[in-house]
């Protein structure tokens, strides 16, 4: 077969690989052929007839979405015959359409509207009464309005192929065909909303967004999802300081168009009625609202007195706060409070992995690698539930490149459906012979592999004699960044040993510290009572820990601030501010204000995120990443440490929360969507 085929499209000579579809070849040449059912990355459907083109020597118009290119083919995409055919196709599609565009969510960004505008099917010859069926609710997030549906099957295919769920089907025939859910009258699925987003028209609408606004009235803010560690880009549609929608229709970011239910809908914790909007100070054993000035003064006074009296401090940081905040917090702890008692909840043994890989280059996989590498080994995690994006990437890799997937998990997982081999339990050794003959491999592992287990796994990988890359799974949006930024008693930012290591979180909770400072974390969730003399908490909500605090400072969430976060694969991305919540402040600003009030601001330096990030770039090993990349919404992977990390890290401290699709720590408890979907009840 020749490497490339020459053809002519609208007079332009085009070269394309054999097997390329005419619609794709045209796109490469900058010519758009309209399409409804054709969707890049999904199987072909050829259901809508919108892509018809004229091909010389072929008697009839051809569907460009299923026609492969051929040598010498002459294609015309915009002749009067083509335009007439498309106009008629549109007339058919509108046969039973209610023409309710003025109240339709999709109005203004509807592909059908755009096409009718272009080809102007201004009249219909049908005089029959239109078939109307009432709108149906399939789940709290998915609504279906049959009369608007153009039966392009995109929703069915994205659910089946993209998500690997298969919760939507088409029932009946002809004019009464409609999209049906998998369980009687409702959906039991991932509730990801991919079907809603991919629908070219307003047939599928989302419970979160419907009838809230017109699309053109929103501002679109591309930021990073604040839930799991996968680091999906989510584009928030905001208006008047409210988030009305989350999606990623521009396919930007490491996730393309993918988002799970959390990235697409679970931004809704931000305006929960329980959100803290004023500082609280304990007066006569009760927390009472006070002003920022008063609260900061109380904290600074307490901190300064404790310092002067040689008292002890402990600091527990967060898996959700930005790199800038984490860096500033550990600097505050170490340089101002003079303590190494600083920690956070560790959800994966990143430290041992980096140590085990020291001296080697290019060993950490990216999210893109999961789509491109020929073979993948998953150890421990139920990816589809705990790491939806990583699971999606692997599934797409299998569909598009026939990647071989190997899973070693305690129970059945979605990956079993397309795995080359599934092993139940923890023993991956039996896969050695199969893996040895793979050209390359990515190994992902969760917290069931830690300490020596990580070294053993790396030894295994390196003994296969093929290029292997690794991913240590962690839980939250900046779990990885928290370790990188030195939120541990034994390591400074960039994995430098911290001299005399301090206490870890559990020790701090049990110790009689004079002051315990908790930022964006809930270590007393299980109900233990605090030991520290003074407890300062920065949080969005009155968590179990905050309830025991002396001072609670209301913090802004990720969607209300700027800064950077580092995802599970070590890729750094930038947060953008979408909205503001009255009364709450970004944690970085709060820390800066405390420093200023204490009179130590000069020592810590400015608390502007950009300036702190510059310092991180200059001083933290691995963070010498190109600024323009992240400034323009891209992701830049941090460099591996590439040197021994000479500290003993108690691997017993590593414990993943194993959040499911409908859980997300404290944030999940306050998300209306996550609590309303039926699956969250079924899975608990």
């Amino acid at each position: 077969m020749p490497d490339s085929v020459k053809l002519t499209i609208d007079g332009h000579e085009v070269q394309a690989a054999p097997g390329t579809l005419v619609i794709d070849a045209a796109k490469q040449a900058g010519i758009e052929i309209p399409a409804f059912c054709y969707y890049e990355g999904l199987t072909l459907q050829a259901a809508c007839r919108m892509c018809l083109v004229e091909v010389e020597k072929m008697p009839k118009l051809q569907a460009a979405c299923t026609l492969p290119v051929a040598e010498g083919m002459i294609v015309r995409t915009e002749t009067s015959q083509v335009a007439t055919a498309r106009k008629y196709t549109l007339e058919f599609l509108l046969t039973n359409h209610p023409l309710d565009c003025p109240v339709c969510d999709k109005g203004g960004e509807c592909e059908l509207q755009d096409m009718v505008f272009r080809y102007g099917a201004g009249e219909s010859r049908f005089t029959e009464i239109k078939i109307h069926t009432p709108e149906k609710q399939y789940s709290p997030v998915v609504y279906f309005d049959a009369p608007r549906c153009i039966l392009c099957f995109r929703c069915v295919r994205i659910c089946n192929e993209g998500m690997g769920v298969g919760a939507l089907g088409v029932i009946n025939r002809g004019a009464v065909s409609e999209i049906a859910p998998n369980v009687g009258d409702h959906l039991e699925c991932d509730e990801c909303g991919a079907c809603v987003d991919i629908c070219p028209v307003g047939a599928l609408t989302s419970g979160a967004y419907r009838y809230q606004t017109r699309p053109w009235e929103m501002t679109h803010v591309g930021t990073i999802c604040t839930h799991c560690a996968d680091g999906c880009k989510t584009t928030l549609g905001t208006r008047n300081d409210r988030i009305l929608r989350g999606n990623n229709r521009d396919h930007s970011g490491i996730n393309g168009e993918f988002l799970c239910v959390k990235g697409r809908y679970a931004y809704d914790f931000y305006d929960h009625p329980d959100r803290l909007q004023a500082p609280l100070v304990r007066v006569n054993r009760k927390l009472e609202e006070t002003s920022w000035a008063q609260a900061l003064e109380t904290v600074a006074k307490k901190f300064n007195e404790t310092l002067a009296g040689g008292g002890s401090f402990g600091v527990i940081g967060s898996n959700h706060t930005t790199n800038e905040e984490n860096f500033y917090l550990q600097k505050f702890a170490r340089e101002v409070l003079g303590t190494n008692h600083i920690d956070h909840h560790r959800t994966g043994d990143v430290v041992t992995l980096l140590d085990a890989l020291s001296g080697q280059q290019d060993k950490l996989a990216t999210v893109a690698d999961l789509y491109q590498r020929k073979a993948i080994l998953v150890v421990g995690a139920d990816l589809a539930i705990e790491h939806p994006l990583l699971s999606y990437q692997i599934r797409a890799n299998y569909r598009h490149h026939q990647a071989r997937i190997y899973v070693v998990t305690p129970g059945p997982v979605r990956e079993d459906n397309y795995a080359a081999a599934s092993v139940r339990g923890h023993e991956y050794e039996s896969l050695r012979e199969k893996l040895k003959v793979e050209p390359e491999l990515v190994i992902l592992f969760d917290d069931s592999v830690k300490g020596d287990g990580v070294r053993k796994l790396v030894d295994f990988g390196e003994s296969l004699g093929i290029p292997v890359k690794y991913i240590c799974l962690v839980d939250y949006s900046n779990s990885r960044g928290a370790v990188d930024m030195g939120l541990t008693p034994e390591l400074l930012p960039g994995y430098h040993p911290a001299g005399q290591p301090g206490m870890h979180a559990q020790e701090m909770l049990a110790a009689d510290l004079n002051v315990l400072w908790v930022v964006g974390s809930n270590p007393l969730k299980a109900g233990a009572s605090r030991k520290a003399g003074f407890l300062l908490v920065q949080d969005m909500f009155l968590t179990e820990t905050a309830q025991q605090a002396d001072v609670v400072l209301p913090a802004a969430c990720a969607y209300e601030k700027i800064g950077t976060v580092t995802n599970v694969t070590g890729e750094v991305q930038r947060l953008k501010r979408g909205v503001n919540t009255m009364g709450a402040k970004p944690d970085l600003e709060i820390m800066g204000f405390i420093a200023r009030e204490m009179g130590v601001a000069a020592k810590l330096g400015p608390w502007a995120p950009e300036i702190v990030f510059e310092e991180i770039r200059k001083t933290v090993r691995g963070y010498q990443i190109p600024l323009p990349v992240i400034a323009t919404g891209g992701a830049a992977q941090t460099m591996p440490v590439n040197g021994r990390i000479p500290v003993e890290v108690p691997s017993g401290l590593v414990r993943s929360d194993h959040n499911g699709l409908f859980d997300s720590g404290t944030l999940g408890r306050y998300s209306k969507v996550l609590n309303s979907v039926i699956e969250s009840r079924l899975s608990r």
């Binding site: 088409v170 029932i171 009946n172 049906a180 859910p181």
Partner: protein, 134 residues
């Protein structure tokens, strides 16, 4: 899957939820996928039919022989409509497209038996017979 659905329907009378589950399991697809196939074909039924399922063709050849009148007569006589069954579950009615018996139009099918050159009187007798038949 289609023969399986037909045989199952013959045994049970209609395609019930349990049957969908069972067929999905046997074929190795989801119940939703069985439902997609099943709802596409008009000869597969989700609701219980009568013991005798009377299918009256009103397609073109039969229509030319006044099949529409036969249809109305049957509806009137039994007091039921398209895809409905009599209260005792004895007889159900369905208006169908061409059943391949055009040369003997108008044609009526009862379960798998054909009745040719049906007249108003013949239909009356047929239905009366079915009412009593065990």
């Amino acid at each position: 899957m289609i023969p399986m659905l037909l045989y199952a329907q013959d045994e049970v009378g209609h395609v019930s939820d349990e049957l969908i589950e069972e067929i999905a399991r046997r074929v190795g697809v989801t119940p939703l996928q069985v439902n997609e196939v099943l709802t596409y074909y008009s000869m597969l039924h989700r609701k219980p039919l009568g013991k005798y399922h009377v299918q009256i063709c009103t397609n073109i050849s039969c229509l030319l022989w006044d099949a529409d009148k036969l249809w109305e007569q049957a509806c009137h006589k039994l007091g039921i409509g398209h895809k409905e069954a009599t209260g005792d579950g004895q007889i159900s009615l369905e208006e169908v497209e061409c059943i391949g018996a055009c040369s003997w139009a108008p044609a009526v099918q009862v379960n798998y038996d054909f009745h040719h050159f049906v007249t108003s009187e013949k239909l009356d007798q047929l239905l009366d017979g079915l009412r009593k038949k065990q």
